[in-house]
């Protein structure tokens, strides 16, 4: 697991990088913000996608995450790692998006004008096929299971880090992960490589 989880994590790739001094960000140094955004935007946006935020909501959702981050950075005391906080912000935002989406989807259904999201099928691109399969399987998990599985298996965080983000005990995380993996594997078996989201 170690090799894949390490390779899978965008954060592990960034660990060699240096965070911009947070004090500079707090003091409003825009170059420092830019540095922070450049470093964490890909992590946040990819994570939001994995949590099920669709492309049409992705821009707004990631913008909200960074607005929150910039707004509350002065209150960030460094007790947790910045990435842990970022993941929490993303989880909250994804929850909001899901809620909004449920309402708007219901409205669209009512009005019988549901424009289905076009899935661009580029057969032959193994990454895209892999993403579609994973997305289809993740969509069948509960929100809690999905979040735990994405953080641990896809983002490559340690059990301790994931438990901290989710605000639960490690034992609880392992239990949740156990069921999540079972459901995930079952869902993957039920999806063909060609299946879309």
């Amino acid at each position: 697991m170690g090799t894949v989880r390490a390779a899978a994590s965008p954060l592990t790739e960034l660990e060699g990088d240096v965070d911009p001094p947070l004090l500079d960000c707090v003091q409003g140094d825009r170059t420092a913000w830019r540095h922070l955004h450049r470093r964490y935007y890909p992590v946040a946006a990819a994570f939001l996608r994995k949590l099920g935020v669709g492309e049409r909501d992705l821009e707004d959702a990631s913008q909200e995450v960074f607005l929150q981050m910039f707004r509350y950075l002065p209150r960030f005391r460094g007790q947790a790692e910045l990435k842990t906080w970022l993941y929490r912000l993303c989880i909250t935002q994804a929850r909001r998006v899901r809620r909004r989406r449920r309402i708007s989807d219901a409205l669209e259904k009512l009005l019988s004008a549901a424009p289905e999201q076009a899935v661009v099928s580029e057969a032959g691109f193994c990454e895209q096929a892999a993403r579609r399969r994973i997305e289809a399987a993740l969509a069948r998990l509960s929100t809690a299971e999905r979040t735990a599985l994405v953080l641990y298996e896809m983002e490559g965080l340690s059990g301790k880090e994931v438990a901290e983000i989710l605000g639960c005990k490690e034992a609880t995380l392992w239990r949740r992960l156990h069921y999540a993996r079972k459901s995930f594997k079952r869902a993957l078996e039920q999806t063909t490589p060609e299946e879309g989201v």
Binding site: R5, F125, H178
Partner: protein
């Protein structure tokens, strides 16, 4: 009896096949994200939010001032009524009009009203300048605001401390909306007005002005002028790398190839330039190939772009193949086209397959 599953322990590995699937999917989840565009939109939104806050403050000030005046009037009336109904030694010592609001609070019965009015009227310890100034210097303006990086970062935040004008909305119109509505000339004037200001909104406006001229008005020279202004006014601006790269692209577009090459060369030595090295090498390659007709130099740049990976690398491979074709090296061209097709970002797949078919005839 069934064996209890150790579900509260770290789970075993997922298995090689599944892990490989996750790695591939992860790559795709991270693909196609445009950080620069996202930051631009974020900055724009923060500038707009700051403008909206200023507008709200400007609109709230007269309303609060009116409330203040009413309260003050009530305090005076109430004071007079109190004087008439129950004369107090402190109160009757001098006429109410001659007393300062602070002194007026000495009457216990009138204290709440007088204290409230004192917050909205110019008293001895308050700066002169009328009701509006008193409101701004009072609790509303001095209330500790929620930490806001826009306010902290931008000189525009100083505007919130300056006397707010009710016409703040007019000062911060949505210029992009004008462009979206198909009124690019008005949008241009709007951005010009905004760019004449200071702070983040001016910075964004200047950059957007360049984009508008480049993309909607087809005015490359005008865009260059805006970008030159941006770079000299905001040498540490958050969009400086994008502005410089766009500047180089535009120089190439208007045929100022030597300047474009010199500037891109300098850009490659900067940290921001190194981050965009793939794009810069691709651009340099295109200048050498298209304008200067030097495939040797172009190929050197394309090879450098390929080394940096990403979308630019795929394009570089494609143009490298074209270079090979133009010098009659069919085998080299075929090899490059095939390499292009093996990549994950082959957006010219159909065209390349056609070229390969023609080369094999």
């Amino acid at each position: 009896m069934t064996e209890r599953e150790p579900i509260e322990e770290r789970p075993p590995a997922l298995g090689e096949e599944l892990e490989s699937l996750i790695v591939r999917a992860n790559r795709e989840f991270e693909a196609g994200l445009d950080e620069a565009a996202a930051f631009r939109k974020l900055s724009d939104r923060m500038a707009n939010d700051a403008a909206r806050r200023r507008t709200r403050a400007a609109l709230a000030a007269p309303a609060l001032a009116s409330v203040g005046l009413v309260v003050a009037a009530m305090a005076v009336v109430s004071g007079r009524w109190l004087e008439r109904s129950a004369p107090h030694p402190d109160v009757v010592a001098e006429p109410p009009s001659a007393r300062s609001p602070r002194e007026a609070t000495s009457s216990p019965s009138s204290r709440p009203l007088a204290t409230a009015s004192a917050a909205f009227t110019a008293g001895p310890e308050r700066p002169a300048g009328g009701t509006g100034a008193a409101v701004r210097s009072g609790s509303i303006a001095r209330r500790p605001a929620r930490p806001d990086p826009t306010a902290a970062a931008s000189p525009a935040s100083a505007a919130s401390n300056r006397p707010a004008r009710p016409s703040a909305q007019d000062d911060d119109p949505d210029c992009l909306q004008l462009a979206r509505e198909g009124r690019p000339r008005e949008a241009e004037r709007c951005f010009e007005r905004k760019a004449a200001g200071t702070g983040l909104s001016a910075e964004m406006a200047l950059y957007e002005l360049a984009r508008l001229r480049r993309d909607l008005l087809g005015d490359a020279e005008g865009a260059i002028e805006a970008l030159t202004r941006y770079r000299s006014r905001f040498p540490r601006g958050s969009l400086h790398p994008e502005a410089t790269l766009s500047h180089v692209e535009l120089l190439a577009r208007v045929g100022r190839h030597t300047e474009a090459l010199a500037e891109s060369d300098a850009l490659l030595t900067s940290p921001a330039g190194r981050e965009r090295a793939g794009e810069i090498h691709l651009l340099r390659g295109n200048i050498y190939r298209g304008a200067l007709r030097s495939c040797t130099e172009a190929e050197r740049e394309y090879a450098a772009a390929e080394r940096h990976g990403g979308a630019s690398a795929a394009e570089a491979t494609y143009f490298r193949a074209q270079c090979r074709e133009s010098v009659g090296d069919v085998a080299g061209a075929r090899a490059a086209y095939e390499r292009y097709l093996r990549g994950q970002r082959a957006s010219r797949r159909r065209e390349v397959e056609q070229r390969l078919r023609e080369l094999s005839r």
